[in-house]
Symmetry: C2
Subunit: 196 residues, 2 copies
Amino acid sequence: MNICTYSYKEYLQLVKSFHGSLAPGLIIGGFIVDLAMKNLPEGEFFDAVCETPVCLPDAVQILTPCTIGNGWLSVVNFGKFAVTLYEKYSGRGVRVYLDTKKLQAWPEIRDWYLKKKKKNEQDSDLLLAQIKEAGHNLLSIQYVQVEPDKIRRKKMGPVDICPVCKEAYPTRDGEKCKACQGETPYAKVSEPPTKK
Amino acid sequence: MNICTYSYKEYLQLVKSFHGSLAPGLIIGGFIVDLAMKNLPEGEFFDAVCETPVCLPDAVQILTPCTIGNGWLSVVNFGKFAVTLYEKYSGRGVRVYLDTKKLQAWPEIRDWYLKKKKKNEQDSDLLLAQIKEAGHNLLSIQYVQVEPDKIRRKKMGPVDICPVCKEAYPTRDGEKCKACQGETPYAKVSEPPTKK
């Protein structure tokens, strides 16, 4: 049993090293990406969409060339456990999702996924064993036509120096940068003491 | 010269393998994360903020335990070249940014960063050489108090089966999932032919 070009065991090691823990969602995510890769439409360059920011983006980033930083991976916050890989020019893609109709055969996965059990009631060994046993059998595929303009990040465009903070920012954001317009997540900013 | 626990050369290899190319922004990003790590406030667990989705998130994901999928890395779309690492409970953090006042000594970096030259006019060998030479000297640091609630992703909360697509979704989104409410990035969805 492989996950893309890795053995199952190798994939678990990559998950642990990249993500920090053997999150069940990321192991299922490995099977999702693997099944998507095996059902790619024709084409050379593929971009990815994750329909949740939870866990799944890391499966895509570990297993494909698509990352957040290079822009080939987009995340939409639908809270859905699905990944689409699509040919970047034509938009033709394959979507793989966790099919709730197939969950009944693996009750520990079902109860975890549908949040029927609190964390301390879950049997994590059994959960991981059922995930490994289920493999692709939890999943279904669809063929989709992606509208890349709806999800791909926009080009930054011209930049200028913000008159307030003196840092560079995209002029599409207005007369000053978004942080100086008040959207900052920082309550307090202080400069370090100057060295003499 | 090291980038966190890696030699400069090892870091370039990681960038190439994870990100696909030696993007100048990701190399500067390595120095940004390195300088932030060297100036961490006290504490054990650190979350990260990137102020642009371009390149920088990959530096954080390569060099720290924070990823998009585990939720320890947040991205705000300010188009600013800055990373903050903050203690996850107190919010005390250090912000490292590309300081435009320090750009004059490295004209090739300046022209690339402020988009003064078209891509085909850039000298990419000179650009990478200046980035290596400049190292931390392009950067400045600030101490910040982060308001984690403003940026950290919300817990998903209860889930249910969407009455339209039959997939699981967070009930906070309403009576049906966001995709079935019309926010889908897919123009056309078709099921694969059933195998006989």
